[in-house]
Subunit: 368 residues, 2 copies
């Protein structure tokens, strides 16, 4: 699931003009209050998001973040969540926070890769880090420092705020038995995954979420990737396609971001800053737990409804991996900031992958 | 690392009598304060822990929890951390919180399995869940509800508060080439792992952390398990043993717990309750990130110092797995509460493992 899909799915009609009536000012403490007045100031903040109302997984996670901040601050920092399109369109979340239209935003870093090419390296990479590895890099491997550095010129402070874990390879109406089967395949798959498909001889056809089902059913596309069983079941994709392929090589994890306008951030007292940071970390873990549990349950339901789960052949995965490495390197080389991030990140991830071989991977394999 | 080791490592000399001079009462708001007085009440709480001062990983995580609560509450809930032995011995943390000697505690659930046999199922199981799977079960699979139910009769509210991820199989001065090599092996390895070793024909020799190095060097023991590279390097075990075996079949993860005295909990206003819960979730993720990064770095250092990393043979791991399954089942059957937990948990984990086969495990394998 990427860029234009979310855009149209959420309805772009309700545009930024809806902001006109909003009051951006924080409430000032009344005269005569205690000397701790500054700490008692109340802030009413807006959080724009890339998600439709009640969107499973990531949308629910954004709501959890706002509720946590409201509860922990005892109402001193009230965060109101806006669905995509309510104040600004889904893909303008980063811009809106950057220019101060909203104090906060929640979205996926790769949605603004057109503006900030390095952003996708904090989000998802084909054959790249899973959630655990991305978190280790971000919080102990220098990732967050780089991310803050990359967003600073835009006046935005980023925090990791949610992860999907491993996704699936997608829904197919044609069998994939060899690399040749990608030739001429019409697939809806955006981003770096789409670039890989093009290099494999396929044709990328992008479209909003609402059109995928019909496109699959009519044969306008042969295949589509969305998120994982939890969100895919909700969209009903199994009713329009034959095979559900694994594993999700194109996105072994997607990390979502909380954006905070830097000028607004500096007006917060230290306790509220700490509350925002902890709420983001809470959601970062909780959303992954949610996806792991719900994806498992949804796949069981899909299988009960007759969905055939297939694994991409080794030969195909090997070729996809080679092509993905070229695509990621090319993407990094095209932008000096992205190149700097990828140089540090790729070296660190290589060390993490080597360590995972000895323990994490082995436990999966011997448990059988 | 388990029970008695921590006990002696931290020095049991400073006993619970040190509590005599402590004031357990929270500060009351002065008369004349605003109508929000109850929310402005200040609480001074003690948190006893099972960890020596500045203990890498888990000990640092406990300090992080206290700092987060102090910062987020703006000093309204001040948590003071006590190292093992300062107020109560390492293994009496649960008891101390249960009887209200301290309002909070941080330790490992399986330290009190003698009192609460079901506790270890929320902590670590041989060939059991990794950190990600344990978290999905706890926070979305009914685990936390069971954990709260199990601790309620003791007046303790538990929260997951930290994880180690996959540990290592330990340090050996004898090669393990077949299941027969466990016969007569003298190994320091407590808990369920120790029970497995005994069934394999080995001899479990338990001793405190401070004695392990000399015991290895003098041949009093042939092998020892501790935690993982990060903590093992700090203890210098590589200087007294030949081989470092992987994977950590006995503990694919250890989850740590925050304990809160239930009566004390009920005195907290809602905002402070939310702050405590979010701080625990923050540490739950952050400590895993810390272990993943630092274990990787420490193993690199160990290898630079000439440590030979070996993998246990498949034949050995298969047999260990069979025996571990018997040991876990027997442990659950011996206590009705543990049996209830394990019945629910084992069914849920089986579903999670099956899902992991398709995606998480496959990504590790194809990434190569």
């Amino acid at each position: 699931m990427k860029r234009r899909d979310i855009l149209t799915a959420a309805g772009v009609g309700l545009a930024a003009t809806a902001l006109a009536g909003c009051n951006d000012k924080s409430e000032k403490p009344a005269a005569g209050e205690s000397k701790q007045a500054s700490e008692q100031q109340t802030f009413n903040w807006k959080m724009v998001t890339s998600w439709p109302k009640n969107f499973p997984g990531v949308g629910v996670g954004a709501e959890r973040f706002a509720n946590l901040v409201n509860e922990m601050s005892g109402g001193r920092l009230k965060v109101k969540v806006y669905a995509a399109g309510e104040l600004v369109p889904a893909l303008e979340v980063f811009d809106a926070v950057s220019r101060g239209t909203a104090e906060m935003g929640h979205g996926a870093p790769y949605y603004w890769k057109g503006k900030v090419p390095a952003a996708q390296f904090f989000c998802a990479l084909p054959f790249g880090p899973n959630a655990q590895e991305m978190n280790a890099w971000l919080h102990r491997g220098g990732g967050m420092q780089l991310w803050e550095e990359v967003y600073k010129p835009y006046g935005v402070l980023p925090m990791a705020c949610g992860a999907t874990g491993v996704q699936t390879a997608g829904w197919f109406n044609k069998e994939i038995n060899s690399v040749d089967d990608f030739k001429g395949l019409k697939m809806r798959t955006p981003g770096l995954g789409g670039e890989v498909l093009t290099k494999m001889g396929g044709t990328v056809v992008n479209m909003p979420a609402g059109e995928i089902f019909t496109a699959l059913q009519t044969g306008a596309i042969d295949a589509t990737e969305w998120i994982g069983p939890y969100n895919d079941l909700a969209l009903g994709l199994h009713k329009a396609s034959k095979y559900y392929y694994t594993p999700g090589w194109q996105e072994p994890n997607v990390t979502f971001e909380l954006d905070v306008n830097l000028k607004a951030w500096e007006t917060l007292p230290d306790d509220l800053k700490a509350i925002v940071r902890a709420a983001a970390r809470d959601v970062n873990g909780d959303m992954l737990d949610d996806y792991n549990a719900k994806n498992m349950e949804a796949l069981e339901q899909l299988r009960e409804q007759g969905v055939e789960v297939r694994r991409l052949p080794d030969e195909v995965l090997s070729r996809l991996k080679e092509v993905a490495a070229e695509v990621v390197d090319a993407s990094a080389s095209a932008d000096p900031v992205a190149a700097k991030v990828w140089e540090q990140q790729s070296a660190y991830l290589k060390r993490l992958y080597e360590y995972a071989e000895l323990n994490e991977k082995d436990i999966y394999n011997i448990r059988g």
